[in-house]
Symmetry: C2
Subunit: 608 residues, 2 copies
């Protein structure tokens, strides 16, 4: 590399360090030292290898850059400034109320597709973006800047396994091995060989370099670009706080503004006005065109007994036909979730993620960032494995569709480890989420189809066993709605149920009616948003609500109902799973949990 270029890159890197120090100093917090270690790496990437049009973030040929070490946001924002995307005044708004430059990057910025800050997530999401690149046959690259501390997260190795086995050569991880975590040395310190052995074992091309040597960095980035059939990881030995003696390679300097920023800026050679011209991608790349055909959804006859998971699978396959942008992801249980019906029709848009639920959800987030409409399905219980990824998908405003099968004690003999009993609570707390829980096959079809157009994280909860079809084919079930299944002027209470408990509620209502106790029944298939109007009407009319759900008492349907009618103050009695189930038949389980027809009828009688 010519001396002139080396000088320019050193100047650019120095400016990135200075600006990282300045931004954190102005904010009084942030991570300047974690930014300074990676400044040379990113300077060379931006100046020599990145292909990105900052004026057109939606250009389909743009490279994708993910800061998996999201706390190095001062560096990212300093890069934006050097590239002319933001000005100095905005840089100095870092971490202030209303600023787009948050403590950790979020998609409030047009150049950020996914939020990071929970470590170990950027690389798995990058795997999803790289999967999209292969699907779209577009030549963009996915660059992921990782910290060394975050390599302890298992999700990193789920990503390493998937990318390695799939040979995602368009994925390049750059690890800033600065040897210091938040509270002290990392496990492997500067032993980049330890990381190389691990990534190598997972099938990656590995390159170990000095992360402050522009020549070595340039060579490594080029080598990564030239590598075929394998993802590349560049393991760059760096010094945290590089360039400022007060903090360089010192413990106790994590996540703090520098004590004497003016002195540090002097030490770094003062402010500069270096611009970096990021290469735009080659012209002529056309966005991938998704095929669109008329929708023809499956339907089921009234009275037929069909599992909602089966209807989901059939609906997903039908959606696949109509919408070329629908993709499905599986956690090695597609025969159980019935996502296998989609695989059969569209193997090229079906992704087997194996038993790696974090990568399952992360891949969905990555795919949606490129405009695909992912449905990711596994057992409801095992979605808890990906809770942090779901949480962060909410922060990313990602539009992903999650499907959890085998909900509740109704699965029967398999026992508590396989029962999704916490999923409604988990998905309800997710920012901007939608939570749907069908009770029959036609409703499951309608809700599966409705999810295709939902924004944010949406969730469909399905049931293992067969349930009778109670809705005619083609009926509409708007998100946020509910269905009144039993109602009479003399109703003394209203039972609110969803999924399997709808059928128990109907049986209980019939039994109570025979004992001259008329009660209403509402099918609350949309748990979030919830049909407040219908619930308030029921509460006003009967004054007594009995909620019944195949889920824990906390955070599920019952709480959604209480919340909707709370300011009105009706009596609300909740039936839910409170004990620890063992093995038993589905019927025994519902009875033991106190959520079957008999328990409901008894609860009504006790209440009245």
């Amino acid at each position: 590399m010519p001396e002139r270029d080396l000088h320019y890159l050193a100047e650019l890197a120095a400016q990135l360090r200075v600006d990282s120090v300045r931004a954190a100093a102005e904010a009084g917090s942030g991570h300047p030292t974690s930014s300074m270690s990676a400044a040379d790496l990113m300077a060379v990437l931006f100046a020599c290898h990145l292909r990105y049009d900052f004026d057109d973030p939606d250009n389909p040929a743009n490279d994708q850059l993910i800061f998996s070490k999201g706390h190095a946001s001062p560096l990212l924002y300093s890069l934006y400034k050097a590239a002319g995307a933001i000005d100095d005044a905005e840089l100095l708004s870092f971490r202030q109320r209303g600023s787009r430059l948050e403590g950790h990057p979020t998609p409030r910025l047009p150049w950020v597709d996914v939020a990071t800050g929970s470590l170990g997530q950027g690389l798995p999401v990058g795997v999803g973006v790289a999967m999209a690149g292969r699907l779209e046959r577009l030549p963009y690259r996915v660059w992921v800047l990782c910290g060394d501390s975050e390599l302890a997260e298992g999700s990193i190795w789920e990503a390493a396994e998937h990318a390695g086995c799939e040979g995602l050569a368009n994925l390049i991880a750059i690890v800033d091995v600065n040897r210091l975590g938040q509270r002290g040395p990392t496990r492997h310190g500067w032993d980049t060989g330890a990381y190389a052995r691990r990534f190598g074992a997972f099938g990656w091309h590995t390159i170990e370099i000095d992360g402050h040597d522009p020549g070595q960095i340039d060579y490594a980035l080029q080598d990564a670009c030239n590598t075929r059939r394998r993802p590349t990881v560049i393991l760059a030995k760096t010094r945290k706080g590089e360039g400022v003696l007060e903090v360089e390679n010192r413990e106790g300097a994590h996540g703090k503004a520098l004590k004497d920023p003016d002195k540090a800026i002097d030490e770094l050679g003062g402010q500069r006005r270096v611009r970096v011209e990021v290469h735009k991608p080659d012209q002529g790349a056309v966005p991938f065109r998704f095929a669109e055909k008329p929708m023809s959804l499956p339907s089921y006859e009234l009275g037929e007994k069909v599992a909602t998971r089966t209807a989901f699978g059939a609906a997903l396959a039908a959606l696949g036909t109509a919408c070329g942008d629908v993709v499905a992801l599986d956690g090695e249980v597609a025969d159980s979730t019935k996502a296998a019906a989609f695989e059969k029709e569209f193997p090229e848009r079906f992704f087997e993620m194996y038993i790696a639920e974090q990568q399952l959800v992360a891949a969905a987030v990555g795919l949606q960032a490129r405009g695909w409409r992912p449905y990711a399905a596994t057992f409801a219980a095992f979605l808890t494995r990906a809770h942090d990824f779901i949480r962060m998908a909410g922060v990313s405003r990602a539009s992903i569709r999650l499907v959890g099968s085998h909900a509740g004690v109704a699965i029967g003999e398999d026992g508590p480890s396989q029962m999704g009993l916490e999923d409604l609570a988990m998905l309800r707390t997710t920012y901007g989420s939608t939570v749907l829980y069908p009770c029959d096959a036609n409703q499951a079809v309608a809700l599966t189809a409705a999810m295709a157009d939902l924004e944010g994280v949406s969730y469909l909860r399905t049931t293992r066993g067969d349930t009778p079809v109670i809705y005619a084919p083609g009926e509409r079930f708007p998100v946020g709605g509910s269905r009144v299944l039993r109602q009479s002027p003399g109703d003394r209470a209203t039972i609110v149920a969803a999924g399997v408990t709808v059928h128990e509620a109907l049986a209980a209502a019939d039994e109570l009616a025979a004992s001259d106790i008329p009660v209403g029944v509402i099918d609350l298939y949309s748990i979030k948003p919830v049909d407040t109007a219908a619930l308030i009407e029921a509460a006003t009319t009967t004054g007594n609500l009995i909620t019944v759900e195949d889920h824990r008492l906390e955070g599920g349907l019952g709480d959604a109902v209480s919340d909707a009618v709370g300011e009105l103050g009706p009596r609300v009695v909740k039936l839910a799973v409170t004990g620890l189930p063992g093995s038993a038949t589905p019927e025994e389980q519902l009875a033991d949990a106190g959520i079957d027809r008999r328990a409901i009828a008894n609860a009504v009688k006790r209440l009245l």
Copy 2:
């Protein structure tokens, strides 16, 4: 190995297969084929290497056996029968209501310490048990039977990293590489070398064998026992359904009873009456004695401003002095959670688990299985990473103490990725859990100490910023209690708060009192179990409850209150975080989320 021994081992393995087939046939479900592949491995382990006293499961020198592939429970129960621990009638109660022999093993059985069935958890928990063995200086070994499919879980590699780096030579993983997952071939099929490269890179001793050859198995198990300073993984190539042509090495035979069990039993040579004499551990091992000293808890002066996380750290260190069985685990944030105060005093009982929250919780589960009292601390937000492990800890009836710092929007500038806003909901749904949320330092101390004696999963939520001390040193805060902080006969509403919002509620109450609107204030520091009596009294007296929490609207304090008073039907207005925060100061965050003093006062006025 002499011919006679080989014959015996073959007979024992055949019986294990026959009994697995019989148990599943009787139940009409279960995983006989996944049991049959590992029968030879377990036959040799039980006959030749395991040291276990079935009559005395609490013998401290017993080896520990964990079926990480919990679905192979028919094999485990067949082993119990062969060892004389259960009889044939009980074996055939498999998966029936009331039986201890659940679909997946749980501690309802005296020989099972931790529940499995959610894949990828047994090995990380085994790491915790092995850590305990080192701490106790006892010579027991931890044997973990893994499936090959579950090696896709990132948690396996968190475990591999911790055990490899710590050199846990008392940990031996046996992987049943039967090449078939639930829905088809695994990623690596019979390529045991692929797994060996991975484990080897993480520092493990690896042995690849034919998993149906007793001689090879015996050699490998002995080799593992003789290995020093490294954990061992035995990668055993096996055939799923081995021994029965109908299912052997065939796809589509996962998780089902065999179609023709009688024919299968014939093919396996019929029923046998083979007993296995499991060697008891050497006598003379004495249980580790935990030191006990008088308790001297820290205390804070009224009016002092101290973060509850700081008080937690000081209390934990004090507990460490008094109770020799208290251990602390950290997710590489001990300087933030303040668990570092414990590390300083008791480095030998402090475990740095690095940024691997699944392994963090799993290690706690493993340690408590050996009688230790673990406190595992990280940011509240990042406990979501371990949700499935927390869920399964509930199923295991494990007594672990989790501490989540940096709760809520009150952390300020770091932004949403670092804010614990879903933790109360997550922990409330956990079976048998306790959820505590102190508002001042003395209360934090008391609750930290109270957790030491709690059974099940308990959770302490701490706050980043300083809050004023409002309770005198030494005051008592029973779990399940609450504190009435403002109350007058004319109260027109009661504000229910916890943690940071207590201080906002007090300020709001003072402001309202100045406007002649007297309101009560309850500090609901025990969110689960909740003080139903106090809430009902408040609801009865004022008829209006305003809940305010630094947590999402769903599943937290507000829902706990609604649930407690639901059958009474007061008006409940909930203030909670509903939007997506960005960066801002703590005060701005509370205001923006509508949970500060002004928002509370306005809500009261609006309600009245």
